[in-house]
Symmetry: C2
Subunit: 207 residues, 2 copies
């Protein structure tokens, strides 16, 4: 199955829809009207219909969305229907928070390796992961890890990136808030928490 | 100055443009063609022109964007041209990472208070902030803090939200990865790092 010309914005919204659907499932719901769903995820109904239209017909007129079926379809579209193994580089406060984060399992991510340069951290076991020396990162290739998570300070980010690329990852989640250079075939998503915060004041009423 | 019917997607992209501009400024650049800028921030040139068009004319034909001027304009549009004081609730690993995060200053955010329920943490000084007992949060009103950052576990998130709302914040950055209920006038931005990661596999080449 190949999808062409699907806007990045659509792919960005699909996990938002998925999270909403999973929440509804947790609440025991089985179906939802397209209008109620739109309200629930705070996206225009026409936008949702357009997003789904790239992948086929998902709702039934007069019935709405089958929550379980639709969530399964989104898992599949996003290639989240298989487990993705991830390696974490940097076990500082942010790295520890990432390791403890309960949400990764929801999307079939499994952090199976963690690396740091700090001797005090190396050898420690956090959850089910033992922190290894960064020099061991090359062994990742054997472990079939395809995702890397970078949680190191800015000045160490490119080095961590290069190590992950050499180790064969295909995607990187970058928390270092700086630009990292990668070969073209590797996808990077940079999370800059300050940048997310930067949208807030616009929406706040004046004092 | 009031802006009407500006899409949320535009407001979401403005900080991305701003970050790009600040990076170019750091590199000593003064102007950039609209095409080069589009490449740099990985957004279509027409999309950038459309986004800017809501606020007036920003580029000069044949010259491109004046980087310093444009960044100032975006600061103003996003209401980032004044300092926003923020309070952090939850000083676990994620909270500590937030306190240590160098990027907030860039957007004129100043975390001036931090709260926790853990007696071992209360009274500790981290950077310039002394961790206070959560019961002291009501005193925020006097401190003119308008932003709240929630970095507590899911089950404590709503309680932290209610406390921040009572204390008078107008916007909340929510890291708890769950839905929080707030009065309509308060803006919430939820950051779910697993959800950001959920976009990655779609873009990764098959094994």
């Amino acid at each position: 199955m190949r999808y062409h010309k699907i806007p990045d914005e659509t792919i960005r919204r699909l996990p938002v829809y998925l999270r909403g659907l999973l929440f509804l499932l947790e609440e025991g719901r089985q179906s939802i009207s397209s209008r109620d769903f739109a309200d629930f995820v705070s996206v225009n109904p026409w936008q949702i219909r357009k997003d789904f239209s790239y992948f086929g017909e998902f709702g039934t007129r007069g019935v709405g969305y089958d929550i379980k079926k639709l969530s399964k379809q989104i898992y599949k579209i996003l290639k989240l229907d298989v487990v993705h193994k991830a390696a974490l580089v940097g076990v500082g406060n942010l790295g520890l928070a990432v390791l403890a984060y309960p949400g990764f399992g929801t999307y079939n991510f499994d952090i199976v390796a963690a690396f740091d340069t700090d001797r005090k951290k190396i050898g420690k076991k956090i959850k089910d992961v033992t922190v290894e020396d960064i020099s061991k990162i090359r062994a990742l290739k054997r472990k079939k890890i395809d995702l890397g998570i970078i949680a190191v300070p800015r000045k160490a980010a490119q080095e961590a990136t290069d190590a992950l690329v050499t180790a064969g990852v295909k995607g990187i989640l970058n928390f270092s808030s700086c630009h990292i250079a990668v070969p073209k075939k590797i996808k990077v998503i940079t999370i800059d928490i300050a940048m997310d915060l930067a949208r807030l004041p616009y929406y706040m009423p004046a004092s």
